[in-house]
């Protein structure tokens, strides 16, 4: 598969926007300005970027408590997103959802989830509706390897397979289920082998290679759009930050983070783009500066937005 220059720049830009957004939330959370819990995905940036570059607004995604990257990659506006994280009324969920329960329906972001694995069960319904309405759209559900221990994983994959739903399961292997290493809670090396148990394809790839993610997800999407049912794409990557912001990460072996920092998907891709003469250092810096300005503007927008009135607690309970 030949990847065009435009797509390469797009993949890079998506990763940079995700990373700069999340780096900024680290600062605002540490200062106490951003309430609630914060689970960040720096280091896993190539997976949402490579996946979402294959999707339109009519395709749907479900993500996890660690979902900012996916939502930005899918195309949600950054200003209402930041306002949501600040708990303000101009947040896309009116400040009620925060980081863990975020949705932006118009761009197909159908929900983050505070319950590990649960996005998979709900994603069945979106995929069902896409098939029921005879569209060519698909649904993608992102989850970590920790979620493969839930009943939701088995139930959802089995049901997606029996009903032949256009649903792609994208598993980010970030090596930890919260704080428990993968070797403790998964008995096989590759989660992708489990797909065979549902009669579906399962593919394991380097999740830090954004072009690889883009190419392999394109195959998965084609499979799902062709009405062939679910597909499991396992992306091996790493979580730079802890399970939550403030996690001391004392469960990590010494040197592990440093090794993975060398494989940072953005650093790797910058080298590649430069080598291929797709972008110069200056052009890459310009993309970063644009993203930085966008994020700073979003913080200003969030700060200027009002806190919700207490009446908000009682609105939208019933339709």
């Amino acid at each position: 598969m030949k990847i065009s220059k435009d797509v390469k720049i797009d993949l890079y830009t998506r990763m940079v926007r995700q990373r700069i957004f999340e780096d900024e939330t680290t600062v605002n959370f540490a200062s106490g300005e951003m309430p609630g819990f914060l689970h960040l995905s720096q280091g896993e940036d190539a997976v949402p970027a490579g996946v979402c570059a294959n999707l339109s607004n009519e395709d749907a995604i479900y993500t996890t408590h660690r979902g900012h990257g996916c939502i930005i990659a899918k195309g949600a506006e950054i200003k209402p997103m930041m306002a949501e994280l600040f708990g303000r009324i101009d947040g896309c969920c009116k400040g009620r959802a925060g980081s863990m329960h975020f949705a932006d329906v118009k761009t197909g972001c159908m929900g983050s989830n505070g319950i590990v694995g649960e996005g998979m069960r709900i994603a069945l319904g979106t995929a069902f509706a896409q098939k029921y309405n005879k569209t060519n759209n698909i649904t993608v559900v992102f989850f970590g390897e920790g979620a493969t221990g839930t009943g939701a994983f088995h139930e959802s994959f089995n049901m997606a397979a029996t009903l032949k739903l256009p649903l792609v399961f994208v598993c980010n292997i970030n090596l930890y289920a919260q704080m428990t290493p993968k070797s403790v809670h998964i008995a096989v090396e590759d989660v992708a082998v489990r797909a065979a148990g549902y009669g579906a394809p399962g593919v394991t790839i380097d999740g830090n290679d954004v072009e690889k993610v883009y190419e392999e997800f394109a195959k998965a999407a084609k499979h799902a759009r062709a009405g062939k049912g679910p597909y499991l794409l396992e992306c091996k990557t790493y979580r730079h930050h802890g399970h939550f912001e403030g996690d001391p990460c004392n469960y990590r072996p010494e040197g592990e983070l440093e090794e993975w920092m060398k494989k940072d998907p953005i650093v790797l891709y910058e080298k590649k783009l430069k080598k291929e003469a797709v972008l110069t250092d200056k052009e890459m810096q310009a993309i970063k500066d644009t993203a930085r300005k966008e994020v700073i503007d979003a913080v200003a927008f969030a700060r200027a937005s009002a806190m919700p009135e207490v009446e908000e607690l009682y609105k939208d309970i019933l339709a």
């Binding site: 400040g95 009620r96 329960h101 069960r121 319904g125 069902f128 509706a129 139930e155």
Partner: protein, 327 residues
């Protein structure tokens, strides 16, 4: 005079679903056995034949995934009607009701609606035992963002199902297995029974009896027995337990000054406890006696027929409760 037809509860539910499926192409049924055999007791028989497998979807035994699918499909604009069979099995899908379906609209700032219906049966009185006989409606009655209806006969079963399918919120529809085959004359022409409104079954002046679900049948027997003893009971069939039709209860209690609630679920933390608390808070000066409850004891429902009979509320127990309030 409207044309009437004698029909049992099962067929009333069946006709309601089929009518709504004819009316609205976004309505479909989903669950274990719902298509081919039409459910374990045949409630959805004939639907697959009329509407095809796309709208009568048989699934694996995956209760959580069934209700999860309903949440996602409803957010996408469809109107799923799912079957969970025995209410005990809904424990496997409480996550999807509690954390997802009931919260989704509020949590997402009103971006989505959740128009789906989940059918579940209560099966007390059949010796079905601890895993097939429970009444868990109280759990769902405590969840904001959803509705819970409990029809008691063919008329209310049909009218409430049609209202539930047209409602834009998650609705748990609780079916009484013991009433499935009980027939009643109901109108042939379309009608709806509104959600959130109790039905005054019998007017009375001495005591208000509030019945929940199939306990209406026991309450009707009790009302007849009490009448023979000179006590005029007013019977309210609650029909909806979330939101509770408290205004209807208050209006009746102001008239009778006494209240007994009968339900098949346990007394502890039951619907009756919530009603009693609200009534004493609002109408303390109107009450001539403490609010009483006729409900299941704080133990497990038995398969053993004698023990099950002891566990379940009935007309005689209700009569005794009422007489205890008359001074």
């Amino acid at each position: 005079m409207a044309e009437m037809k004698k029909i049992n509860v099962q067929w009333a539910i069946n006709h309601a679903i089929a009518e709504e499926m004819r009316r609205d192409p976004s309505v479909f049924i989903i669950g274990e056995d719902v298509g081919g055999p039409g459910g374990p007791f045949g409630v959805t028989r004939g639907i697959k034949a009329e509407f095809g497998p796309e709208r009568a979807v048989d699934t694996p035994i995956s209760e959580g995934a069934i209700v999860g699918l309903c949440c996602g499909a409803a957010a996408a604009g469809l109107r799923p009607v799912a079957e969970i069979m025995f209410m005990n099995f809904i424990t496997l899908a409480v996550e999807e009701f509690y954390n997802q379906g009931s919260k989704m609209r509020w949590m997402f700032g009103g971006q989505v609606k959740q128009p789906f219906v989940v059918r579940a049966m209560t099966a007390g009185g059949f010796g079905a035992g601890p895993h097939h006989s429970s009444s868990l409606e109280g759990w769902f009655a405590s969840m904001p963002g959803m509705k819970v209806v409990m029809p008691s006969n063919a008329y209310t079963a049909k009218g409430l199902m049609k209202s539930a399918i047209r409602d834009d919120n998650p609705v748990l529809y609780v079916e009484p297995l013991s009433s499935y085959t009980i027939k009643q004359d109901i109108p042939v022409d379309e009608y709806l029974v509104p959600i959130g409104k109790a039905e005054v079954v019998t007017q009375g002046s001495d005591v208000t009896i509030v019945s929940v679900g199939r306990m209406r049948l026991e309450a009707e027997k009790a009302v007849a027995k009490l009448k023979a003893d000179g006590i005029n009971a007013e019977l309210l069939d609650l029909l909806t337990v979330n939101p509770l039709p408290m205004e209807d209860i208050y209006a009746s209690v102001k008239k009778t000054n006494r209240l007994v609630i009968i339900h098949e679920a346990k007394e502890v933390m039951g619907i009756g406890a919530e009603i009693a608390a609200s009534v004493q808070e609002k109408l303390f000066d109107w009450l001539d006696a403490p609010v009483a409850r006729c409900a299941a004891p704080f133990t497990h429902i038995a398969f053993q027929p004698l023990l099950e009979k002891h566990y379940l509320p009935n007309a005689d127990k209700l009569v005794a409760k009422v007489k205890g309030l008359m001074g």
